[in-house]
């Protein structure tokens, strides 16, 4: 993977804005020669973090933003998705809560910082080939 410019994008954190953010991020991956399948999976994981911010960070407040930041560091792709909202731990439901599981299946590592908002930091191998998680 080439050592390329960083990507930093900010949008209002609402569900209708996630598609354009995801497409811009996917274009960044494609411009950096990440293979199609690998880029699709990484964009899926980042899309899950973005969707979580759009759905939960600000409640009914319409003006909060979400930022996606990406940079290449040696053979890793580091992506952070950050908002200034509130991180709420929710009880597990059978039909909800797949986002973090999907991120963990794709990313090499994931960490979540909830100080002054929510910052999800994901590290990817740009040549990544995922192994599906066992169903629970």
């Amino acid at each position: 993977m080439k050592n390329v410019a960083e990507l930093r994008l900010t949008r209002v954190a609402r569900p209708s804005a996630i598609k354009s953010l995801r497409h811009a991020f996917l274009a960044f991956l494609t411009a950096n020669d990440v293979s199609e399948d690998c880029a699709a999976d990484i964009a899926t994981a980042v899309g899950e973090a973005l969707a979580n911010s759009a759905e939960h960070a600000y409640g009914d407040a319409p003006s909060g933003t979400v930022e996606v930041y990406a940079r290449v560091e040696r053979d890793s792709l580091i992506v952070e998705v950050a908002d200034a909202g509130v991180f709420v731990e929710r009880p597990r439901r059978e039909d909800r809560g797949f986002g973090l599981r999907i991120i963990k299946a794709v990313a090499r590592s994931v960490s979540i910082d909830c100080e002054g908002g929510t910052r999800v930091r994901m590290v990817f191998d740009p040549r990544f080939v995922a192994q599906p998680l066992e169903a629970s």
């Binding site: 569900p15 899926t44 059978e94 039909d95 998680l133 169903a135």
Partner: protein
């Protein structure tokens, strides 16, 4: 509305993400008494966990009604998403419409 001899078909296309959650839920609201449901996502190019959540709600509803459901999915990303979420075994997923219809025919008989 469907009768018990008719297959219900739900068809969506494009990208199924959080911005379309309400649309997905509305599309999956199958009423009546069909013999089964074919969810045709052959023209879907992308999906996220919002689609999974809505599909699970839908599957649970059909299970309660005793109706079989088959998913027609051709997007590699969508198929891998089901695996990453650990729900790939919760659905009957097919690449080809004919195979999905055969499955539904057998399930209904």
């Amino acid at each position: 509305m469907s009768d018990s001899t008719t297959l219900a078909v739900v068809k969506m296309d494009g990208e199924l993400d959080i911005g379309r959650r309400a649309e997905i839920r509305a599309a999956l609201a199958v009423d009546g008494h069909p013999s089964g449901v074919l969810v045709d996502f052959a023209a879907v190019s992308y999906a996220d966990s919002s689609a999974i959540s809505e599909l699970l709600r839908f599957r649970n509803d059909l299970n309660r009604r005793g109706l079989p459901v088959a998913l027609l999915i051709q997007s590699p990303q969508f198929k891998r998403l089901l695996e990453y979420a650990g729900v790939h075994e919760a659905f009957a997923v097919f690449d080809e419409r004919a195979a999905a219809l055969t499955y539904l025919g057998n399930a209904a008989s």
